[in-house]
Symmetry: C2
Subunit: 192 residues, 2 copies
DNA sequence: ATCATCCTTCCGAACGTTCGTCAGGATGAT
DNA sequence: ATCATCCTGACGAACGTTCGGAAGGATGAT
């Protein structure tokens, strides 16, 4: 299917150069067709981009849902630390995550509303999934009574973002150091 | 001075739309001149952009240097927490910080090398300034012996990045909540 | 088996617009 | 007279987009 191939290449280009920086001609060239042929499969640049974006957000959310579901019987520290490292391994230099972040932070102006809405959906879902995890840990007496599930969740998402940033900016080795340090301090900060 | 006015407007446009998304015509229009007149003051788009970028990085670094110097006699927790909140207040919706982050994470391809080098300069300087602060606190017995100054610094910069991200993405009220939660956990994580 | 028909896919050519850029001239202050 | 500044005008290149048609496969009737 050519449409799938176009999206595959477009993901790469949008991730690397952003919406404005990516050109249909370049994308088509890498696919091996002319740019006009893209219009056989998509109404235009916007539709290609938004279609792609839907996949990106879905995949990104699916990763978290799957992980938290698969390892829900682990202890809290193993679950959370594993979450960080899994994300780091999976999305190292991954175009999906790169476009996800790029678009979340710096959406193209004329698509701002659509994108921000999808972004909030992602973070809110993630937050709603994490809070019960912490509630359970609090009930089990694993984390300090000074810490609410809300505080623990928000701070954890901040750790996650910090990892993302270093993953994008500094690369693998720097982000590994950051995960190590952040997690060490974070866990020491919430544990009993 | 028109050159200054051009840079002022250009900062806004580059921050909002990125390098590729910002057009000289739009910038000139807002300044109140024709786009060709920009060439009286700058050799081209790249020179304007890089000239601007130098200011941005310098200003960004200067803020940190100034703050840490001015409040160096504060206790560690007051110093660090103040650093976070000061940054948040100063750079809320600030185009300087927005462009700083945008360009650091997603530099235009053809200027990648120049920008990444400046980025590392910033983070390394900040790191080098923070480590002695933590060393001093360790010597004074303010933070746990389980925590090295290196770990504390890296984790703190992660907290800072997490704040940046939420500031850009979620706005003021969300970033305030995040600062509160992150700081609470962070400080509990490193203190004696 | 042949033929007409339809649909999908792709491309050549061109559209109008915007991009960054360059040359040359008008204006006004020093 | 010189200089800086901003202008008009125009440039080639790239952008996203549209249209008409060529190729090929599948379908169904004859």
């Amino acid at each position: 299917m050519t449409a799938a191939r176009i999206k595959e290449v477009a993901l790469k280009h949008f991730a690397k150069n952003g919406y404005e920086g990516a050109s249909l001609a370049d994308i088509a060239a890498e696919v091996g067709i002319k740019k006009q042929s893209i219009y056989t499969h998509f109404k235009g640049k916007d539709e290609l981009f938004l279609d792609l974006l839907d996949d990106v957000f879905t995949k990104e959310l699916q990763f978290s849902v799957d992980y938290l579901d698969r390892y829900k019987e682990l202890s809290l520290d193993q679950l959370l630390y594993g979450f960080l490292t899994q994300y780091q391994v999976c999305y190292e230099k991954d175009d999906n995550a790169k476009l996800f972040l790029r678009v979340s932070f710096f959406p193209p102006s004329h698509l701002y509303d659509v994108i921000v809405k999808e972004g909030y959906r992602y973070w809110d879902t993630l937050e709603k999934m994490l809070i019960p995890v912490f509630d359970q840990a609090i009930a089990a007496g694993d984390i300090s009574s000074d810490i609410s599930s809300n505080t623990a969740t928000i701070a954890f998402l901040a750790v996650l973002d910090g990892m993302f940033v270093e993953l994008l900016f500094g690369g693998t080795e720097r982000s590994l150091k950051r995960i190590e340090a952040s997690w060490f301090v974070y866990w020491r900060g919430i544990k009993k």
